[in-house]
């Protein structure tokens, strides 16, 4: 389980602080949707939870252990082992094939490439993009790219999945596939946190955190 305690954050020293001392626990095995107006800090909260940035004050905890102040090396290790990121624009590497993009999600955790490729094909199959595995990201649609991004996030069976506006650029049908995949991840025990201002996504959440 991950959580925040008295969280404050500001991008610049002395700048506007957001979250106002947020204290919240994100339950395991359920989907929490973080919602709020543009600029409220939805994406920033996900980056904080993913240990890409550190809070100005307050703490982020993983399994009740504060990880806000730990060295970058340990934070990278946690991201590699525990966290799966889904980005709004999928953020795929245009120079790699689809299969290779998915495999990349497991490399920094120390997985062997051959094993990762088998797992990647399973995920691509389950999300209906297996036929695209030899294509480059520039040759697939936005909906397919986002599904590939989810495959990359899920390849290492993360216990935390952080999805930043994962349906922001998708049509309704693609969005449904993406949300179903995230719900499935939660059903296997992962803590899933989605940032979105889309009411349809908010309705799919087990919990809603408005900021």
């Amino acid at each position: 389980m991950i959580g925040t305690n008295g969280l404050h954050f500001s991008y610049t020293k002395g700048g506007t602080e957001i979250f106002g001392g947020l204290t919240y626990d994100f339950p395991e095995g359920e989907v929490t949707v973080v919602t709020g107006p543009s600029g409220s800090g939805k994406s920033t909260l996900l980056y904080l939870l993913g240990l890409l940035i550190t809070p100005t004050s307050g703490t982020i905890s993983y399994d009740k252990r504060s990880v806000s102040g730990i060295p970058d090396r340990e934070r990278s290790h946690i991201r590699a082992q525990v966290v799966g990121f889904v980005f709004q624009d999928a953020a795929l590497d245009p120079t790699r094939t689809v299969l290779d993009n998915v495999v990349e999600g497991a490399l920094y955790a120390g997985s062997r490439r051959r094993e990762a490729e088998v797992r990647a094909r399973e995920l691509l199959e389950s999300l209906g993009v297996r036929l695209r595995e030899t294509h480059r990201p520039g040759e697939v649609s936005g909906g397919q790219a986002q599904r590939i991004g989810i495959c990359r996030a899920l390849i290492k069976n993360p216990s935390v999945v952080l999805a930043d506006e994962p349906t922001g650029n998708l049509d309704r049908e693609s969005a449904e596939v993406v949300l179903a995949a995230l719900s499935d991840a939660a059903s296997t025990g992962a803590t899933v946190v989605i940032s979105s201002h889309d009411p349809a996504v908010v309705q799919r959440g087990d919990h809603v955190l408005a900021i």
Binding site: S43, T44, Y47, G50, L52, I53, D72, R73, S76, H77, R79, A80, Q81, V83, F85, F87, Q88, D89, A91, D93, T95, R96, E104, G105, A106, L107, Y108, A109, G110, S111, R112, R113, E115, A116, V118, R119, E122, R152, I155, K156, N157, E165, G168
Partner: protein, 373 residues
């Protein structure tokens, strides 16, 4: 299925990521590789030729006898004896030592008193490589005739004999041709001394193992010769030539090092700028990797390894091309040690050039590039 994890990225996987990144930026990789190749090629074709020229000049100076010491007892009053020659030969820093007796005039025995007078000297000690001989080794009292003396004496073959006015002529059993610093001997004959001879000698020729030793060695040789009167001796060394040699070696060496370092520094700056540009273009790539769990050291390793590989390829191409050009211009390949040193320096420069951009990439905040406006 679930994946097994080793906890951190493996070495081969990291190497794979390195080659992927190099391949993902073919233009930048090629430019960096070509700069490294150009650095090697330019150093080899400029400094390499200078080093070659330096070696040639030094070799010529060495040939002229920078290492020789000549101690002469012009009037025979210093009391030099042949028994000291083996002791001088055994001194450290001595290549060889020869003792020469007084020069007596001899004439071709077949011509008689009308023949041209030619100097003959008794030689003590082993003839060095600078004296090439034909015929058999002379026994005590037998002579080798110098290449110029053969003409003076009117000899077609190194055979026959010469006489010095005494009843017993000296048999000629072969000839010799001496190079510097013994070239002056070619105009006369060398008569082999009896083993363990303690005869008086008039000059001592010594060759030091290196030009730098000449100054110190001269005093040591005189001490071993133990003359009765040191003031009767005149000493001729090639110290001035040794000083010229040192100056030439120093000046050309300094010039070569400055030139090589300048080319290397320019290459380093150009490669750094190229890599910095490439790293800036791929900042989103690095941001994604960091979000997926790459540590800062992973990023630094990927960039540094990438440019180690590019450096190795560039250095291989550059040194090969440079060596071929030097060979075509001078007819000789640059020295292997120098070529390898240039290649290794260029590879190290490639990795060094990658470090600053690598640290910039590793320490860039991933959120800055991952945020979608």
């Amino acid at each position: 299925m679930s994946l097994r994890s080793r906890g951190r990225i493996g070495g081969w996987t990291l190497l794979g990521e390195t080659t992927r990144m190099a391949a993902a930026q073919p233009a930048a990789s090629m430019i960096a590789g070509l700069i490294i190749a150009a650095v090697c090629g330019v150093i080899l074709t400029t400094t390499g030729r200078t080093v070659q020229a330096e070696q040639d000049v030094l070799s010529q100076i060495d040939d002229a006898g920078t290492r020789s010491i000549t101690i002469t007892d012009a009037h025979g009053t210093a009391g030099l004896t042949a028994s000291a020659i083996p002791r001088v030969s055994r001194l450290s820093q001595v290549d060889w030592a020869l003792g020469l007796g007084v020069a007596d005039d001899v004439q071709n025995a077949a011509v008689g008193e009308g023949g041209t007078r030619t100097p003959s000297r008794v030689v003590h000690g082993q003839l060095p490589l600078e004296v090439s001989t034909t015929g058999r080794p002379p026994a005590a009292g037998e002579a080798l005739v110098g290449s110029e003396a053969m003409q003076t004496l009117g000899l077609d073959m190194p055979a026959g004999g010469v006489h010095d006015g005494s009843e017993n002529p000296i048999a000629i059993v072969g000839s010799f041709d001496a190079s510097e610093p013994l070239e002056f001997l070619n105009s006369g004959l060398l008569v082999a001394a009896a083993p363990d001879s303690d005869a008086a000698i008039r000059s001592v020729q010594v060759l030091a193992t290196s030009p730098e030793n000449v100054e110190n060695l001269t005093g040591a040789v005189i001490a071993v010769l133990d003359p009765a009167d040191t003031t009767a001796l005149s000493v001729t060394t090639s110290q001035a030539l040794a000083d010229v040699r040192a100056a030439v070696a120093g000046e050309l060496g300094q010039y070569s090092r400055t030139l090589a370092l300048t080319v290397l520094a320019i290459g380093l700056v150009l490669v750094t700028l190229t890599i910095y540009g490439a790293v800036t273009l791929r900042r989103q790539d690095f941001g994604r990797r960091r979000a997926l769990g790459a540590s800062r050291s992973n990023i630094v390793m990927i960039v540094a390894l990438q440019h180690l590989i590019i450096g190795i390829l560039g250095a291989a191409i550059g040194t090969l091309a440079g060596a071929v050009m030097v060979w075509r211009w001078t007819g000789a390949m640059p020295r292997l040690a120098f070529t390898l040193a240039v290649a290794i320096l260029a590879i190290l420069a490639s990795v060094a050039a990658a470090l600053l951009p690598a640290f910039v990439a590793a320490w860039r905040q991933p959120v800055r590039v991952l945020r979608v406006p």
